[in-house]
Amino acid sequence: MGRLTFQGGVHPIYRKEITNDRPITPIPAPAQVIIPLQQNIGAPPEPLVAVGDLVKVGQKIADTEAFVSAPVHASVSGKVVAIENRLSPIGKEVPAVVIESDGQAIPLEDLQPYPALEEMSPDDLRRAMREGGLVGMGGAMFPSHVKVTAPQGKKFELVIINGSECEGFLTCDHRIMLEWTDDVIYGTRALMKVTGVEKAYIGVEANKQDAIDILREKLGAEEGIEVKPLEVKYPQGAEKQLIKALTGREVPSGGLPVDVGCLVQNVGTTATFARYLKTGMPLVDRVVTVSGSSVKNPGNYLVKIGTSFGYILDYCGIIGEPKKLISGGPMMGVAQITPEVPVVKGTSGILLFDKKDVPVGEARPCVRCGKCVDVCPVYLLPVYLMDYTLKGMLHRAEEYHILDCIECGCCSYTCPSRRPLVQTIRMGKADVLARRKKRQ
């Protein structure tokens, strides 16, 4: 029997060997951090501090009453010097709190570890998630306490911990599984308790055999949690593809994983939750893979939220002729126009590529080879979706399920005519949504 997998997908350039044996190393806090107020999908939190205030590490600096939101916390101790719009790695200017560090890293006094799991109710744990500022750290930044709350009439049956890390270059989740193994397991237990399920899978791509081994060893005879090796294929870590690979079930079009009884949580988020429960220190730092051909000392670094990319790259050293800076992985990450943007909760990687590694070349006419159709993990027809978008035939694009596109980029990656398929489909999705809105 072959390894667990899904249909479609590609085998992109992985280059994980650059950093996968580099242990998680803390980078000294910078003199100044830029902390965007909103680091979540949903409602924007409001600032709780004013310019001139003194703050300590772990102090909540923004929050809101809204359910679909998550607070943010100071990652250094020092003085708030500005609350103003700053460029975020998502590519937008967003309100941010700028803190000048006093270099002391004084933690807030009343941060307390939580009691043992057995002594906490699911509601306690859910509240803890929110208090800790927990959001999906794989990149989506969806508030975790919302994710673990099953909507009325629906029920979780299975917790899936996502350790596939299918993007090239990124190794932060790999290192977390190796070095924070106990936290991953503890966090998994906590998620099982929150959702009230008896069974959890930790899905790991087979190129991380050492992580699979250590997880299995530490789990021992512990019941309920199973480590599942997955075929190495992108986008194995996409929620829907992961669920398909592990359970054979498909999340209904337009639906959520809970519709098939699944909760999917990234290993980084899971371990961070455990660390928060054990220490009481909210999400104020994260592991970031710094890699790419223009980085002198690539590695997996523990950095304070709000540290600028530029500071980190200076620390790691820049070589060659850097031409492209990416937040996240090479397949779905966001290219940056300036290194002044800060690390946020969803920043899994900082990649800096030399000129020679930035693909160039004009798009050629489509020859209808159908490679994009073969690789689409949602079974869409990217060639037609692009065509309909460019021709403004939005009704057809919608009929062909353009909104089901997960934007993994396999189509553009594989296109032998270098056509901007997913890039055009993204525009098409926005157009279709705008058209829907107008009609209502």
Binding site: I13, L325, P359, P365, V373, V378
Partner: protein, 317 residues
């Protein structure tokens, strides 16, 4: 940070697989090399002259039109070479040497460039040109030669089989290696199969179209191909004879004029196979591969429309 003030920004993905249409086209040309060599072996250097003339005419026509219409001149992309080569391989060895030239000019200028160039033509240029030449100069286009013999004959294995010509049916072995009458590039099933396997291994062609094509011809000729009633046909003979291998592996699989969906590609092969058999068994021509593929080319948009795959997370209605 002055090193980072010249960053390029683009929408993800930031990597490309390196797959390249040009490389694919050259793979096709390379895959046809055994067929070219065997055509020269069987039919002499005149076969090579036909191939060279037809390729040269295709490439020159493409270049002139691209230049004249202000487009980028992309003759090195190999697509015009493929068209010229396939058309050349579809000529009998004794055609006058101006015929491949006219055929290639027609293929590129009318069938391909008049509809917008690479990616926009709705019929396979080489096949459409072959059909046009067959209609315009039927005698030239059907005066076949037998390997190693200088004379002209009208007898091909298929025309003998259909009763249109007299002669002794060649053996399976001769059919397989190509020691039979026909156009220069179609006779050797061996050479064409070898190239087809190469294209499959290189990921250039999908198995569905050739399998559907060959499978359909096999089954239908077995059922209806015999004179002694149903299921008395000789399917192996039909597989090896005529232009089937050339059509199934190199022309029905033409990206531009075949469906993009997996099911569509299979139907493309099945449809072309069914039409081929109908023409071979009951039509006026001994061979039907050309029209089988051309008719399916025209049906390609429809096939795409009606074979949209089930999307992840939806239930087929």
């Amino acid at each position: 940070m002055e090193k980072l003030d010249n960053l390029v920004v683009s929408s993800s993905p930031h990597l490309r697989s390196g797959a390249d249409v040009e490389k694919m086209m050259w793979h096709v040309n390379l895959a046809l090399l055994p067929a070219i060599l065997l055509s020269v072996y069987f039919f002499g250097f005149r076969a090579l002259a036909i191939i060279i003339l037809s390729i040269a005419a295709a490439v020159v026509t493409e270049g002139i039109i691209q230049k004249a219409t202000g487009k980028e001149v992309l003759i090195a992309d190999g697509s015009a070479v493929v068209t010229g080569l396939l058309l050349g391989l579809n000529m009998p060895v004794h055609v006058p040497l101006w015929l491949p030239v006219i055929g290639s000019v027609f293929a590129i200028a009318v069938v391909k460039q008049a509809f917008g160039g690479l990616g926009s033509n709705f019929m396979n240029p080489a096949l459409a040109a072959r059909a046009a030449m067959l209609a315009a100069w039927p005698v030239h286009m059907t005066s076949y030669a037998v390997p190693f013999v200088d004379g002209i004959t009208h007898a091909t294995p298929l025309s003998i089989l259909s009763g249109a010509a007299h002669g002794e049916l060649p053996s399976y072995l001769d059919l397989f290696i190509g020691n039979v009458g026909g156009v220069i590039g179609e006779t050797s099933a061996l050479a064409l199969l070898a190239g087809g396997v190469y294209l499959f291994v290189k990921g250039v062609i999908d198995w569905r179209t050739p399998t559907g094509f060959l499978g359909t011809v096999f089954i239908l000729t077995w059922i209806f191909g015999g004179n002694a009633g149903l299921f008395t046909g000789d399917p192996l003979y039909h597989l090896l004879a005529g232009g089937l291998m050339l059509g199934a592996f190199y022309m029905a699989t033409d990206y531009v004029t075949s469906p993009v969906t997996k099911k569509g590609r299979l139907l493309m092969g099945i449809g072309a196979g069914a039409i081929t058999v109908m023409i071979r068994l009951w039509g006026g021509y001994p061979e039907g591969v050309t029209y089988g593929i051309l008719l399916m080319n025209i049906a390609t948009p429809l096939l795409d429309r009606y074979t949209v795959p089930r999307i992840y997370g939806t239930v087929r209605k």
